[in-house]
Amino acid sequence: MDAAELVASLQQAIPDATFEPVATVDLQPTFYVSRDHVVAVAKVLRDSADLKFAFLAELTATDYWPSEPRFEVVYVMVSLAYKRRLRMKVRVHGSDAHLATVCNVWPAANWLEREVWDLFGIVFDGHPDPRRLLMPEDWEGFPLRKDSPVQIRRPPHIAEPLQVTAEEFRISVERDRLSREQM
């Protein structure tokens, strides 16, 4: 099944979405899908009896700055039942960099989406745990964006020591204990 056939069957399942098959050199059928239909398409790909792409192999993004739409989010899937591979891509504008999460379809997407958020700054709406994954929590900027510098020097950051009086500490411990007992 090549990309065109696949897109035709997907179009039947989801008439609203727009699909655009593209030619690739690595023999993996590839198509673009409109951003708002990612989750619906993902569900069809996973559950449809003649597709069964149950395994999400890869989820990543590419930044094509300065052209717009600058981001492409890439999903690579494998169907174990039919021994097929597939690549799905979504174009995302830099000014409106968000799309829906597929964590509910493939649980494996959780950390992969966090990584994309961390390094590219693309927001995944409805993500259960939208924190940075690889960079420090207080990092500013998104390193894998093309307009992010390769080398930066930051002044050393010195945190103020936490000052707690003995009384405050005792109250805090007691409060924690009470809140646990209420649970």
């Binding site: 690595d26 192999a57 890869e58 174990l80 950390w111 994954l133 690889l134 390769v150």
Partner: protein, 393 residues
Amino acid sequence: MAEFHTETMTVNMGPQHPSTHGVLRLVLQLDGEQILSASPTIGYLHTGIEKTAEQKKWQQVIPLVERMDYLSAQSNSMAFCMSVERLLGVELPERVKNIRILLAELQRINSHLVWLGTHGMEVGAVSVMLYCFRERELLLNINEMIAGFRLFPSYMRVGGLREDLPRGFHDAVRAFLERMPGKLDEYEDLLTQNEIYLKRTQGVGVISKDDAVAWGLLGPIARAAGVDYDVRKVFPYLGYETYEFAVPTQAAGDVYSRYKVRVAEIRESMKICRQALDRITPRGEYAIGDTKITPPPKDRVYTEMEALIQHFLIYSQGFTVPVGEAYVPVEGPRGEQGFYVVSDGTNRPWRIKSRPPSLLACQALERMIVGGLIADVIAVIGSIDVVMGDVDR
């Protein structure tokens, strides 16, 4: 009788814990010895290799990707080279394919030996570690022989290999393949029927077949849970379809079946190595003949003007790769591995992204340890074979 006042305890395991294979930090919530919740924190080894690679020329990326998963250097660079070669549209000579298969399988044995040794040590069988590292030394010697570097040989190149095989390569590999089966039996004598090892591993860290697929764990972990998927069989590359080997699977999905699968994989890898070694001639082609990609032999550089120009161009400007994207999956020691490579038509990659099997294994760790005992955490982390360099990149 007075009422007992119990409370849960939050414990940081790591980042410097010796059995977390690098710097993995687990925040565990404990009720006595039982684990209520676990949240892995990663990123301590993040060095931005993908960003660095965008500044390098195509061939210069190879040493970088070898340092991602530092126990499977040859597999990493092979996966990267294959993606770039797919973009370039070059077809490798048969001999190069066989050498790559041989080196990738030796790398798999190497990685599994480190895994078996460290995992054995963590559950209390220290002698296994000493034995495994003894045999691994022979593999590192082979790496030193072909490239002068033991851990990160950088021997794979886009378009083939760096140079021809050294003298005595066949003898060294053959000696290893003759020695190894007996030694593997020795390791199995120490562990397979060992009562203490069975108690520590059977029924521990179980993951079901469906969960293994949903969490993207394809590789030895999923094969131990009964998923019959191996890239070498399902999407053959480099001519694996002409080799005879089996894909070992188990059904239980616990730590012990992962051990069984990996030991069986070492045996299958040795089978492939023997077949590959018979097909490789001691001297012959080691790269494609494209003068834009492959540098000329050194003796021609010293004597011919054209060869000198070609040498100079390749090392100063590199080569350009046509616009496009490619992802060629290979079966690494930890599961499906591959590099998603995007080119904008220049001599530097626009984007490279490795598929990290260890990251996904680390993500699913929580599912395997919650509800178990804290002592089992060590056995489970060992059994999923995470390499933190691959997790954090």
